[in-house]
């Protein structure tokens, strides 16, 4: 009789049907998703009314800036996920290293955004009146605000990790932040093709 040996990399496997992080963060994430859903609705209605403006829109924007910020969001999100995995192994120092990498990567987002806006203004994309530009600035600036909140949250969970507030059995705060950061990443993955890619 052979005995199959299950191999688990995560010592503490997530429980089925659980709430990742805590309930409070999911109230916040639902609010964030609803807020952006309404803005996406405005985008689709505006696109239906002004198809030519939206088809020509991505050519006005810097694809490089959009791609760079997508890479930044994905990479920072990946580093946070690695940090959570390290904490599940009770590897606090490793977790802090991943979170530090996530912070420095994530801080690139507002920096790229700053240079992107400078470039936009130089190209005449000031957001005055043209429907595609208005939608673009409204949605992406709102997302930037959420990224900035996230960076502050990341600093807080780094401080808590450094203080030894989390361990393998109790790290709901860290996981709650990770959920917010990944949700913000998810929203960017919806914004990026709508403004920078789709002709």
């Amino acid at each position: 009789m052979s005995i199959a040996t299950p191999v688990f990399s995560a010592p503490i496997a997530p429980v089925l049907g659980r709430i990742p992080g805590n309930k409070a963060i999911w109230v916040g994430i639902y609010c964030e998703l609803t807020e952006f859903a309404l803005m996406f609705l405005v985008y689709f209605v505006a696109r239906a009314h002004h198809p030519d403006a939206f088809r020509g829109g991505p050519q006005q924007l810097s694809t490089l800036a959009g791609v760079t910020n997508t890479v930044i969001m994905l990479t920072s999100s990946y580093f946070v996920a690695r940090g959570v995995m390290a904490m599940r192994r009770n590897a606090r120092a490793t977790c802090l290293k991943w979170l530090t990498a996530a912070l420095f990567t994530g801080m690139g987002y507002p920096v790229v955004k700053f240079f992107e806006v400078q470039w936009n203004v130089a190209q005449g994309l000031s957001g005055n009146g043209e429907v595609f530009q208005m939608a673009y600035y409204y949605l992406t600036f709102n997302h930037l605000v959420h990224v900035c909140w996230g960076l502050l949250g990341l600093m807080w969970v780094m401080f808590r990790t450094w203080m030894g507030a989390y361990d393998a059995t109790d790290h709901d705060g860290l996981e709650a932040f990770a959920c917010y950061w990944h949700a913000t990443d998810l929203i960017w993955l919806m914004i990026f093709p709508l403004f920078y890619v789709l002709p």
Partner: protein
């Protein structure tokens, strides 16, 4: 190590799809098939983030279903906007 490896593969896949999407957008001309391709990539990338980063596979159904629905609803709305743009414009004209 399996979880770390699958997470890393998911991250690399997302980076690759981002670059492919950017090239497609720059090279392609407006059309339904480009919209459908971009929408499919949006939905797929969203699902990868939901399953591998957010780890909602085993989460409470109300959370898992809503977030998964979100990542599908937006791409579907994009396709519908391309297909029925004039009708949507008519319906939303004050």
């Amino acid at each position: 190590m399996h979880n770390e490896r699958s997470l890393t593969l998911a991250w690399l896949l997302l980076l690759g799809l981002t670059l492919v999407g950017a090239v497609l957008g720059n090279a392609g001309s407006p059309g339904l098939w480009v919209t459908v391709t971009v929408a499919a990539m949006m939905a797929f990338k969203g699902r990868v983030v939901i399953d591998h980063f957010l780890e909602l596979g085993g989460a409470h159904p109300s959370i898992r279903r809503l977030v998964r629905f979100y990542a599908v609803a937006l791409p579907v709305m994009l396709i519908l906007t391309d297909l029925f743009g004039p009708q949507i414009a008519w319906l939303t004209t004050l």
